[in-house]
Symmetry: C2
Subunit: 231 residues, 2 copies
């Protein structure tokens, strides 16, 4: 069972453990990692600022931290002993190998799977990931009231500054607009969640993607050990 947007109480984690579940909590800072470790989480998903979709921050009104995955991993490793899953901006097996070497025990990839046929993302959302008209991403509260990273479209540019830290209230306000935009095929007002490596998302079966990620990761480790022999 995996949590985000906060940390479950100790007794909830213990209850899940008694029923045979492993509990993962998403964290975006060392302070959140301490809370999750104290609650008894089996592993932490360490979400770097590169990640697409909502930031998993516990405290929504706070300004979301912009710490990148590598320094965030380093900070969390220095703070807790819990096994870590690295997430945010990863799109290639070399990236997976990199975060394992950095100290994570696993890697979690999202955006790169968005264009797979198995993904339920809107066709226009899938296409926008590699559209040169959408070269960049930003973190915005404009769609839901919680910081989320997505492609920079007109909606993000027009409404980010005014968007309050009110989740899920803002989501209720924007839902119909976003739906209407999708029906009209207007990507400028759609909610185009995407991490920073979105341009590498390709339409291919998820199983095939997983296989090539694993092969790339092995090859990257192999190449590194040959190039820099550790003796």
């Amino acid at each position: 069972v995996s949590f985000t947007f906060g940390c479950p109480a100790k007794d909830i984690v213990a209850n899940l453990a008694r029923r045979g579940s492993r509990v993962v909590v998403t964290v975006t800072s060392a302070a959140e990692a301490v809370l999750a470790a104290e609650a008894g989480a089996d592993a932490l998903c360490v979400q770097g600022a590169e990640a697409g979709g909502h930031r998993g921050t516990f405290d929504n009104p706070a300004r979301p931290d912009d710490m990148g995955l590598l320094p965030l991993l380093r900070t969390v490793i220095a703070t807790v002993d819990t096994p870590l899953i690295a997430a945010g901006g990863l799109s290639h097996g070399n990236d997976i190998a990199a975060v394992l070497v950095a100290g994570a025990r696993a890697a979690q990839l999202g955006t790169i799977f968005l264009a797979c046929p198995e993904s339920g993302a809107h066709k226009l959302h899938k296409e926008a990931l590699t559209d040169p008209a959408y070269p960049g991403t930003a973190v915005t509260r404009a769609f839901t009231g919680r910081p989320a990273r997505g492609l920079v479209n007109r909606f993000v540019l027009d409404h980010s500054e005014a968007a309050p830290a009110a989740y899920p209230h803002v989501r209720h306000v924007t839902r119909d607009i976003i739906r209407a935009a999708a029906q009209a095929g207007d990507t400028a007002a759609m909610f185009l969640l995407a991490g920073q490596a979105h341009r590498f998302a390709r339409e291919q079966p998820a199983a095939q993607l997983v296989r090539s990620l694993a092969e790339q990761a092995r090859a990257a480790l192999n190449q590194a050990i040959h190039r820099w022999p550790t003796g």
Copy 2:
């Protein structure tokens, strides 16, 4: 010879090469990497948004990109063939090993050396790197008119929003204020450049730091290859 804040013209790079110099250009995006590769740079310093100090962006008025080091490396690798030096938020040998595995040929570390006795940083700047009163960093134009990452102090909070993209003009305006603050021992108005992994900077001789980074990097590769054997 290493450049930042822009790319030298092709004939300048060729001139340096004729005189036996290797030329490095700092880049913060794939577009800048293309320009630098076309100019004939021998290597590119790929500066992730995690980096302390000034962003090396070619176009100062543009909003600086916030791409983290791993997705930026991936994007630049997919764009040019030039060897890459990875920079930004690296503070441990494991981070160095990670960026080598990700595809860089070398790593560049700055902030972690700031607290070394060989560093010319102000004593209060060195101390602030690990001061719990300064837990976070931000990118600001408040000190010089160019985006630079430093510890979030009162000066950053008060002046970031109004600071124009005017470099070095803003630097001339703030220089005396910053100097006076340093003389008064007032870190709230000092220019406390720092990357996102600043909290790991420790006072130790630079040579000793380099040795332990190298040992950590080798150990990290070794551990990864044992934990995930590549066969």
